[in-house]
Amino acid sequence: MKKILIVLLVVIGFSNCRKDPSIVGHEEVEVQPDSMLGSGFYLLNEGNMGMNKASLDFYDFRTGVYKRNIYNEINPAATKELGDVGNDIQIYGAKLYAVINMSDKVEVLQAYTAKRIGQINIPNCRYVAFANGKAYVSSYAGIVGDPNAPEGFVAEIDTASFQILRKVTVGRQPEEMAIVKNKLYVANSGGYSPPNYERTVSVVDLATFKEIKRIDVAINLHHIKKDNYGNLFVTSRGDYYDIHSNLFVIDTQTDKVTDSLNIAAENIYIQGDSAYVYSVEWSYISNKNVTSYALINVPEKQIISKNFIADSIQKQIKIPYGLAVNGTNGDIYVTDAKDYVTPGTVHCFDRAGRRRWSVTAGDIPAHFAFLP
């Protein structure tokens, strides 16, 4: 019996190593102060699906400190933290909106403190856009419980009360939106039903909140960004096989496609008269991802250059994922999502493409929001 007691003691000794529940705190990395640039930017890390590891980083231009994973400490009371797959982040007024796709919510934070002030429940929400004191959120979700309702919707939300005011049905699996003169344009992907992809941009009149027309563009649309000339740049993902990714231009005066740039475009960022584009395509020949970059002159709709960042760094970036340009000094931010399951990196380049700094972010660093 003595030995059994020993066994039990061992067992009890063993049982001692569970830590008290605690908050995983933020981490700080000193990067490079540059007080001329304004306040800073937020970076939303998507986190892999099912991992519940969406996270928020903040880079403070003035102090040059990059703070990783700030949400948990600021909002310890948020059950299960920020959530699963952060898909979009925007600042409107004094509020920060983070669209958390697989958590079916838009998280509303105070823009300057990242303190949580509310949450808008929208199933399978994707992107957010703003106009006239309203937020517009696109969603893949059809009518819950109806297998014959594959169409998604855009919800109109009051930015004071966080209440959904109106909903409009658009195409299947709608993605990013752009608002030009009281018209909301949403890129439909139809990604749930290959090869029967959507190939249109839905146009919604904001006054009546009705879909007034669809513009035929190409299959599997994703990003849509407006320039300063009333044009929209729309990316098509292609079908990953024979039809390649492409970039199109819509003229919002006529609501017609005017140009196709014939370059692969996974993501696009427009800053002034420049559009920055990258793409990652899988090559069945080399069994490798082929990445490409392009700089486009927006008014001319011409490709100026096939790379906008230094070659040596370009090779290091495994999967370019997030893209943003600083409006003040033209710094370019490109994130590397690597293998999606290890923390990614944010690289900062000056307007000539020379690297200024790099810092480790969260899992799948993806979406930027600049704090004014």
């Binding site: 000794g13 529940p21 605690s22 099912g50 059950t79 290890t342 923390p343």
Partner: protein, 679 residues
């Protein structure tokens, strides 16, 4: 780390203590007056803990083996094979929680696809994804569960038995009759999760040499249980939803022996289940609506001829038909909800031969053929068919003190597809060598070691799954080096039985098949990318004690150390522990038998782990440990016998995740009753 050191120190001191208390030999002469009662207890002990078979099995085996059988298995606080396998050392069970949750096993950090699962001697395949859900297999009619590293220590077996890095053998009950003609057992279990689990077993002696058995079970549960997540500030308790299961199992077997004493067996198996998939618990989304249906059927036959003293042969044949349906109401396509259906078929045929060249020398050769086909209603699906030929040659040299087994396996694979591109043909030759040595004639100590090189083929999903599959994948290789010993002793004084088993090993996994991202989160690609290196120790100590004449105590303690690191060149996580493999884990079981009562205490510990590749705070997963108790009482009168069972599991109500965001149940209980008739 401190705890781990303390633990090792404790185990060592315990071993010393036990060794010092060894005094008398097994066959020591006893005083006449006490001999009778001693003997009867001894017999009882032998019966209850099957000491002899344990000693035989583990001493005979040149590869490390662990097994749970008979009464010990039935008293284990386990509903399924998966629950029981957690107690083995060197094993990590990937458990998605609840009764219906997927449970797969990873042996010595090689990855779950490297463990072959054999049901009554024939491998349970899944050409689609290589996963065998051990939660599906009930313990109700299970006789024995064994885990062999490398392979079963036997050369006279199908070539497939050489084809995995580790093998789990599930042996269902085989009818054995004395004077009686039939045996019927009905059992029922109920308890937490809304469990309703009735089962029936009927064994019939048909003639002197033929018997039959039928086993049926229905498992119905709403699967609801409380779980809790907290970070110290928020503290949320909720109920797991959409975790229900409704499953039927029916098995029928015919067992026979011919006049020439050759054996045959035919077995049919049917399983049908419908279950909810509760999914990951993430912020703002605690329940989901996905569902899964499974229907598995197989028919297998076995014939073993032992007529000739020098030459034996063994036939195995199997047909399997599996259907799986996955429904996702959150994923609405133009054709309605996402509704994927997968149909798999398998035909398997094996012919194994053994020839005895000399008393100390056997040679064996086996040839297997396997055909697999997968249909699915997926976009751009390839409709693959795989033909596989396996030939093994092996030899076994056994002398008094030394046993050597070695051989090689030749695998040939031909893939054909109806559409798109096929992965083509592959051929591989893989060797293995194992040996054991008994250095002292008087001591039951055996030193053993093995080397094995084997691979797993890319599954149909790895190769052909739309958007993800990559037909240029190579097989994923493992190399294992193991050195260990077994020492056992039976005695008349306490401890009446003791067995110590320790193995140290070094494994490598190369060309690991991993999913790497391409354009976006929905597009992944399978690649041969990873490389893993494992240094590990498996240790187990089993003891039996008798106290106060009537009380028998069996205590087992197991410990696993696994330093399993990613050594993929240029990886950010180079030399870091791979996800979900704890450095330290272990289990302890104390089983007390007193007259018709049985009390069982079991404990499982799993150390800290990481949920993803980088060993950083955000990926840290807490250790977990559960304490389970069970009490059972047997009754018998004339032709009837019965048993009542009460279980309380996770007594201290610990809330934990094995797989991140898939919460495990807190405290739960089960009661069971069974009644048997034999006549």
């Amino acid at each position: 780390m401190k705890n781990h050191q303390a633990f090792v120190a404790n185990v060592l001191s315990m071993m010393l203590l036990l060794a010092a208390s060894q005094r008398s030999a097994f066959a020591q002469k006893q005083n006449d007056s006490t001999r009778h009662s001693q003997d009867s207890i001894k017999i009882r002990v032998l019966e209850e803990v099957t000491v002899r078979s344990k000693m035989l099995l583990q001493n005979k085996s040149v590869t490390p083996v662990q097994s749970l059988k008979g009464e010990a298995l039935q008293n284990m606080n386990s509903l399924s094979v998966a629950d029981a396998i957690r107690y083995f050392s060197g094993v990590q069970l990937k458990d998605y929680g609840g009764i219906g949750g997927l449970k797969t096993v990873d042996t010595r950090s090689l990855g779950s696809n490297h463990t072959g699962v054999f049901y009554d001697g024939v491998q349970l395949g899944n050409a689609q994804n290589g996963q065998v859900d051990l939660g599906k297999f009930s313990l109700d009619n299970m006789e024995e569960i064994s885990l062999y590293n490398a392979q079963r220590s036997e050369i006279f077996q199908p070539a497939k038995a050489f084809a995995s890095a580790a093998s789990i053998y599930l042996q269902s009950r085989t009818p054995e009759f004395g004077k009686e003609k039939y045996r019927v057992k009905t059992a029922i279990k109920t308890g937490s999760f809304g469990l309703f689990d009735p089962a029936v077993l009927w064994e019939q002696k048909i003639s002197r040499n033929i018997s039959s058995s039928f086993s049926g079970e229905w498992i119905n549960a709403n699967g609801k249980y409380k779980f809790r997540y907290t970070n110290g500030t928020y503290d949320t308790t909720a109920v797991r939803e959409n975790a229900d299961i409704n499953a039927w199992r029916a098995e029928a077997g015919l067992y026979g022996m011919l006049k020439d004493s050759s054996k045959w067996r035919v077995k049919g198996y049917f399983y049908d289940a419908s279950r909810g998939l509760p999914g990951a618990v993430v912020a703002n989304k605690f329940s989901r609506g996905q569902r899964q249906w499974d229907r598995n059927f197989f028919l297998q036959a076995f014939y073993c001829n032992n007529v000739n003293k020098r030459f034996n042969y063994l036939f195995n044949v199997k047909y399997a038909n599996d259907y799986m349906r996955y429904l996702d109401p959150d994923f609405v396509t133009t054709a309605g909800y996402l509704d994927n259906r997968y149909k798999q078929q398998e035909i398997y045929f094996s012919f194994a031969n053994q020839y005895k060249i000399a008393k100390w020398w056997n040679v064996a050769m086996s040839g297997d053929f396997q055909w697999n086909k997968l249909d699915a209603n997926l976009y751009r699906f390839a409709y693959p068919t795989r033909y596989q030929g396996l030939v093994s040659v092996a030899t076994d040299l056994h002398f008094n003190n030394v046993v050597v087994q070695g051989g090689a396996l030749q695998t040939m694979v031909w893939d054909k597809v109806e559409e798109y591109e096929s992965a083509g043909n592959k051929q591989k030759l893989t060797p293995f060598l194992s040996a054991s040595w008994k250095p002292f004639a008087k001591s039951n100590l055996r030193v053993r070691g093995f080397y094995k090189s084997i691979f797993r083929l890319p599954t149909f999903n790895d190769l052909y799954y739309t958007f993800i599959g990559n037909t240029s994948l190579r097989p994923e290789y493992t190399k294992q080096y193991d050195l260990g010993f077994t020492w056992s002793k039976a005695a008349n004084t306490n401890p009446v039985f003791i067995q110590l088993q320790v193995d140290g090993y070094y494994n490598t996994v190369t060309d690991k098949i991993v999913a790497v991202p391409t354009t976006n989160l929905y597009r992944w690609m399978m690649l041969n990318l990873g490389k893993v290196e494992v240094h590990g120790i498996d240790a187990s100590l089993e003891t039996s004690w008798k106290c106060f004449q009537q009380l028998v105590v069996n205590a087992t303690i197991k410990y696993t150390y696994q330093h399993a690191v990613d050594i993929t060149p240029d990886a950010d996580n180079y030399n870091q522990q791979i996800p979900y493999v704890p450095l330290n884990s272990g289990s302890a079981i104390v089983n007390m038998l007193w007259k018709t009562w049985c009390f069982n205490y079991s404990f499982i510990y799993s150390g800290e782990r990481y949920s993803q590749k980088m060993n950083i705070p955000v990926n840290y997963v807490q250790p977990w440990y559960t304490h389970d108790l069970s009490l059972s009482k047997k009754f018998s009168c004339k032709h009837f016998n019965g048993k009542l069972l009460l279980e309380v599991n996770n007594v201290f109500n610990q809330y934990y995740d094995v797989v991140l965001n898939f919460p495990m149940p807190g405290r739960y209980w089960r009661v069971g009753a069974e009644i048997g008739i034999r006549n």
